[in-house]
């Protein structure tokens, strides 16, 4: 069965999105992409230096087969995010944009209000908008109406590796959202990525955990496998949980016979 992640007018076979921000060297990015099969990678536009020498140019390290997901990291307002997105498109980085508007520098938590405002503007301009948000079903609905192509609730604060701290809220978004749900931020282990996928997330974005691993390519592969396993588990509609024991051959089955 073909099971693809659809974002805007594009489709992807991998549901693992990756990042570029924290690698010890840009040269580690291509091998990680190859090992993980990730087809979408986010790049902070604030780090892109068009005047940089080739060895320092981050865009040169990304495989041609992979789609660039520029992000607006550093933006504190919707206005700044919109400007960054426009610069990104003008610089040839494509139509995808991950909106990050952060007004809390301690925990790096997104500002839903500013994010919605930026989404409204950019979706109208034809961008494929993937907004980072605090998990909240109302914002997920509003983002859908604003023309977003996915909603990206955070699992826990960026870089915290604390996993799915917000699991209950994310589950509600998954249950109600008409947009693909990609869990972004906080995923520190493959088991947590698998868990998000089992819950029904359409994808996960993992940056810190892969970029700061000793072996980044192997970590990328581990996350890719976990995402696949979690997705398969979700599609297979695993049996539900029960607080009490259930015998696989019910004792009263004969009464229905």
């Amino acid at each position: 069965m073909e099971d693809r992640l659809i974002l805007g007018d594009q489709s992807f076979s991998s549901r693992l999105l990756t990042g570029t921000g924290k690698f010890a060297s840009k040269d580690l990015i291509a091998p990680m992409l190859e090992a993980s099969g990730s087809e979408l990678i986010t790049v902070a536009l604030r780090r892109v230096d068009p005047k940089a020498r080739a060895q320092d140019n981050i865009l040169a390290k990304i495989l041609d087969s992979v789609t660039l997901l520029p992000n607006t990291s550093g933006a504190r307002t919707a206005r700044e995010a919109v400007r960054i997105a426009r610069i990104s498109r003008a610089a040839g980085c494509g139509d995808f944009i991950k909106i990050e508007v952060i007004t809390d520098m301690q925990f790096l938590l997104p500002d839903n209000h500013q994010t919605l405002e930026a989404t409204n503007i950019l979706a109208k301009e034809g961008f494929i908008v993937l907004p980072d948000v605090m998990p909240d079903i109302t914002i997920a609905r509003q983002l859908h109406d604003a023309g977003a192509s996915a909603v990206m609730p955070l699992g826990s604060p960026i870089g915290s590796n604390q996993g799915l701290e917000m699991a209950a809220m994310i589950q509600r978004i998954i249950d109600t959202s008409r947009l693909p749900v990609i869990v972004d931020a906080g995923i520190g282990r493959p088991s947590q990525a698998a868990c998000a996928m089992e819950m029904g997330a359409d994808g996960v974005l993992v940056n810190t955990a892969i970029a700061t691993a000793q072996d980044t390519a192997l970590a990328g592969q581990a996350f890719a496998l976990a995402v696949k396993a979690g997705r398969m588990a979700y599609i297979s509609k695993l049996g539900d949980q029960s607080a009490t024991a259930r015998d696989s051959s019910p004792l009263t089955g004969f009464l229905r016979g």
Partner: protein, 377 residues
């Protein structure tokens, strides 16, 4: 509430008594709790800065280093300072630019600043820190505004280390394109502050102390603060700077806060440091700050030696200056017309490696040098 209330509270605190009373158990308990945002309080910071904590440097380093990797990745940002004027009306007893020091002073013209900007940006540097002494008559606001606007053409981020200003003036410089502000209190202990700043506008302790708050209100997106180690007691000064940084983090959640730990070196005309901060003390300070504030940036300047800086990469530093010149026109002399004369440095640089060499060292240490990490959008 401003930081003044907290600063006042701690003016009468018996730091030495407290530090002497800290037990290894108390240090161990603070260290065990460290690991998340805001999980350590003021007492924990004091414990981690105490003499008893020097026996815990390795476990502190392990935890601090892991936190830095978690929040900043294996990356080190690079920047360079650019001195545009060495005129100064202050009498800071520790500084080579002190108004009583007799040397031919220089203020760069806009053309000369452009020469400097070309020279520094040619090195690959995209983040510049603009510095002047305090002489508003020589470097008035409109001159500074023009300088900032010019520098934005060459650099993606322009930071200021000028003299304390009011909110409106900072607002104008922010509008002109400057995005971050550095201001060191130099020394938090009030009596000592008075002693080393006998004359000039800088002798106003309160005005200086509240400068970062005015900067945040004026729109700067990043604040860098610190204390100049060598003047006051290093442990209590490190504590006050840490407290100040946490105050700013909480009061201005949208601002990125970072700390610097400049140590006094011999500057022309300056006094010898009276409270030397040892290498061990320096490292302990960095680690304690990182554990207290996992997200805070920590800047290390070229005042420190190359060998020492190489080691600090693994201990939670996040930004390095590189290829620095601390004299006015230092990057473009002798090709910059009118700058043939010998200039005076504000402080002596110990790590004299080129930008490329520093970047190579960062790569060899298993990290990525980041030349550009912000853009004035």
């Amino acid at each position: 509430m401003s930081f003044m209330q907290l600063a006042d509270e701690y003016q009468t605190f018996d730091f030495q008594g407290y530090f002497a009373s800290v037990t290894p158990e108390a240090v161990g308990a603070s260290l065990a709790r460290a690991g998340q945002m805001n999980c350590l309080d003021h007492r924990d910071l004091l414990n981690l800065l105490s003499p008893a904590a020097t026996d815990f440097l390795e476990p502190m380093a392990q935890k601090a280093s892991a936190l830095a990797v978690q929040y900043f990745g294996r990356t080190i940002g690079l920047y360079a300072p650019l001195y545009i004027s060495d005129f100064c009306i202050n009498h800071c007893t520790y500084c080579g630019f002190n108004s009583k020091t007799d040397f031919p002073r220089t203020r760069l013209s806009l053309e000369q600043i452009e020469q400097e900007a070309k020279a520094v940006s040619g090195l690959g540097i995209r983040h510049i820190l603009v510095l002047t002494g305090e002489a508003p008559a020589k470097t008035p606001l409109d001159y500074l505004e023009k300088a900032v606007a010019l520098l934005t053409r060459y650099f993606s981020s322009v930071a200021l280390e000028l003299f304390p200003m009011d909110e409106d003036d900072y607002g104008r410089l922010n509008k002109a394109g400057a995005d971050s502000l550095t201001v060191y209190q130099e020394v938090y202990e009030r009596d000592l502050y008075r002693e080393v700043h006998p004359k000039g506008p800088k002798s106003d302790y309160a005005f200086r102390l509240l400068t970062p708050e005015r900067g945040a209100r004026a729109g700067f997106r990043a604040l860098n603060i610190g204390t100049l180690f060598g003047i006051g007691d290093p442990r209590s000064e490190a504590f006050m700077a840490g407290l100040h940084a946490r105050f700013l983090e909480r009061a201005f959640p949208y601002v990125e806060v970072s700390l610097s730990l400049p140590r006094m070196t011999r500057a022309d005309g300056g006094i010898a440091p009276k409270n030397l901060h040892s290498d061990t003390g320096f490292v302990q300070t960095m680690l304690a700050w990182r554990l207290f504030m996992p997200r805070v940036g920590i800047n290390v300047s070229t005042r420190e030696s190359a060998a020492f800086r190489d080691q600090l990469i693994h201990l939670g530093a996040t930004r390095y200056s590189a290829g620095s010149k601390t004299d006015v026109g230092g990057y473009s002399v002798p090709s910059n017309p009118g700058l043939e004369q010998e200039t005076t440095v504000q402080f002596e640089i110990t790590d004299t490696r080129s930008v490329d060499d520093v970047a190579c060292m960062i790569r060899a240490a298993g990290c990525q040098p980041v030349f550009k990490d912000w853009e004035i959008f």
